[in-house]
Symmetry: C2
Subunit: 359 residues, 2 copies
């Protein structure tokens, strides 16, 4: 087992990464109040909920189990309200603990429930998808969606601990594994060229779910993200770099109605577009843009965008949370492993990138 | 004008108190982003919204106005969702500002909207009721209600500034003025005997809306509350002292369906019960309990509880957010101006107090 610490002063917390951690009672015990609620979904529950529940009960906690539907639709007010209702019915006090067992949707939903239930209770993340292990479990971002946009209602609420058991990835569908790898690759592309160098020869072991490779990829991704979050918890500056590929990617997800494209798939195509934009602006060598597209393709990820009208691209991108004073701010690449935020991007070059990505 | 500073490190903010502050553009200007949304209700809007809007527009901001229904019912998900929807429609960015214009309900609702909209934007409080000026504008507590309990969904989200214009109290209904005085009196009873001594001869000037008396009462209340919030932002310890009268008071509000009793009225009756409990436990001299009931009566506030079944009292009090591990924690008085929290209170003495208060 490896343990990282996310340094956030009084809100610092450990991330434990390894195989078969789910049943390690000592990882949860320090964080449990007298009552605990596991929030999970109807796909993950049959696989892992009973085992986790037994582990938590051995620590002496009274454990409630709240099962929501699988999929992005759970990041909605009606589902959040059901979770809050179940927490009140279980008489979870302010000294209680929520445990999020599942992927990014469960983490975002349960984390937001923990942020607002009685103005905030502790929560532990037990991510069971690669995406959640490398991305949503670090940084404290929680949210639900609104009809007008994804993640529009949310909070920054740090977990008290994260338990990332790579053995739970054995049950992850192939397509979701690949979508998680998009975020792993993003960390190399945006922040660490040598991690990208490591990923190129290791993409096949990762796709084969080699545990040592997975532990390294999760650990390095969390380290890179944790370092940024530690210096910019509220996403005012450097943290925006983690959104490489997300401005285009969110537009793809929004235009296709949040569902047909997995988040990681949209980010992969968005990253290719951001690299292409960087190359056209003369910031990034063409060869690097090609390496990025090639690695994503080897990971089985889309490198092209779906057909979306040009005007729709622009209006969806303007809704991006990074936009300031109505201006879209793009995350661009100055070199492999070196991303930067830029606001004054010529719309006609953006149009060229969109045309090239959808031609 | 008097200005207090609530000391909360990076989240410190000023409270400006005086007459005719609503139109002082310089009090808002430092806190406005390119877009601003005024959240108010249909009673306050016709009185003050146009004037405030003009002031904000003079600062160069694009101003949207969001009007919700008057009353506690606005602290609900459907209303919050309408506010969020209007903010998105107005394209308020993360650099925008919400301005809450109204009483405690508007402040709680708009503050919670600001806490969760795009994971948090700035908000300015412009409280137009005495209750909001002395209580809900200090401390950063925001919330909406749930069918199973009041304020069960919320966040701690500090305003960036509070503008308390006592001239706006001219339009406050008499009954709400009195309900606000309940909280003013609470601050003296729980925290400052000499403020209580000042209130005894000044209760009539306050009821007559004497501006100098109001400015002093608001200022001293905010000072007392701000000092506690500064040392206990998340309500783990001393901040609970501000809940004097609230354990019984919330039970009264819940049992009567949140509406017939104003919050301050319930707190007044609850405070009399807490003083009575303190006296029966031998903590507080009987004479002090009598002074408290007498001042509340002179302020035109209820000093007795409605008829509620004994078992219902206990189950409603157990839902109180102060309860830990299922035990109700009472705020009691050791002396005038000195409150303390106590968990191990004999249920039979509580029953005697309930019987006495409702006989």
């Amino acid at each position: 087992m490896e343990t990282l610490r996310v340094a956030l002063g009084a809100r610092s917390y450990p991330i434990h990464i390894g195989a078969d951690l789910l049943a390690r009672a000592e990882l949860y015990a320090p964080h449990l109040g007298p009552s605990v609620a596991i929030v999970t979904n109807d796909v993950v529950a049959p696989l892992y909920a009973a085992r986790l529940r037994g582990v938590l009960e051995r620590s002496g906690a009274r454990v409630a189990e709240i099962v929501v539907e699988d999929g992005e639709r759970a990041k909605s007010w009606p589902t959040l309200d059901r979770v809050i209702d179940a927490l009140l019915a279980a008489r979870l006090g302010r000294d209680g603990t929520l445990v999020a067992l599942g992927g990014g949707v469960v983490g975002d939903l349960a984390g937001f429930a923990a942020a607002v239930y009685q103005r905030g209770v502790r929560f532990v993340q037990v991510p069971t998808t690669l995406l959640a292990q490398v991305d949503s479990s670090v940084g404290g971002k929680t949210a639900i969606n609104h009809a007008r946009g994804k993640n529009m209602i949310g909070a920054f609420h740090q977990p008290v601990a994260v338990v990332s058991d790579v053995a739970t990835l054995d049950t992850l569908p192939e397509r979701e594994l690949r979508a998680g790898l998009a975020e792993v690759i993003k960390h190399g592309v945006a922040l660490d060229a040598s991690f990208f160098d490591w990923l190129e020869p290791n993409i096949e072991p990762l796709l084969a779910r080699d545990r040592a490779a997975l532990v390294h990829a999760v650990r390095r991704s969390c380290e890179l993200k944790a370092a940024i979050v530690a210096e910019d918890e509220r996403e005012s500056g450097r943290r925006a770099l983690l959104n490489l590929g997300h401005t285009f990617g969110h537009a793809i997800e929004a235009a296709t109605g949040f569902g047909p494209w997995l988040h990681g798939e949209a980010v992969a195509a968005g990253m290719v577009m951001a690299a292409e934009l960087s190359a056209r602006l003369g910031l990034l060598p063409r060869a690097d843009a090609a390496r990025i597209a090639s690695l994503l393709a080897r990971a089985g990820l889309p490198t092209r965008a779906p057909a979306i009208a040009g005007s729709q691209w622009h209006s969806l991108m303007a809704l991006d949370k990074k936009s300031a004073a109505g201006r879209v701010r793009f995350v661009l690449l100055e070199a492999m492993g070196r991303a930067k935020v830029q606001a004054d991007v010529d719309a006609s070059v953006v149009d060229e990138v969109i045309a090239a990505a959808t031609a």
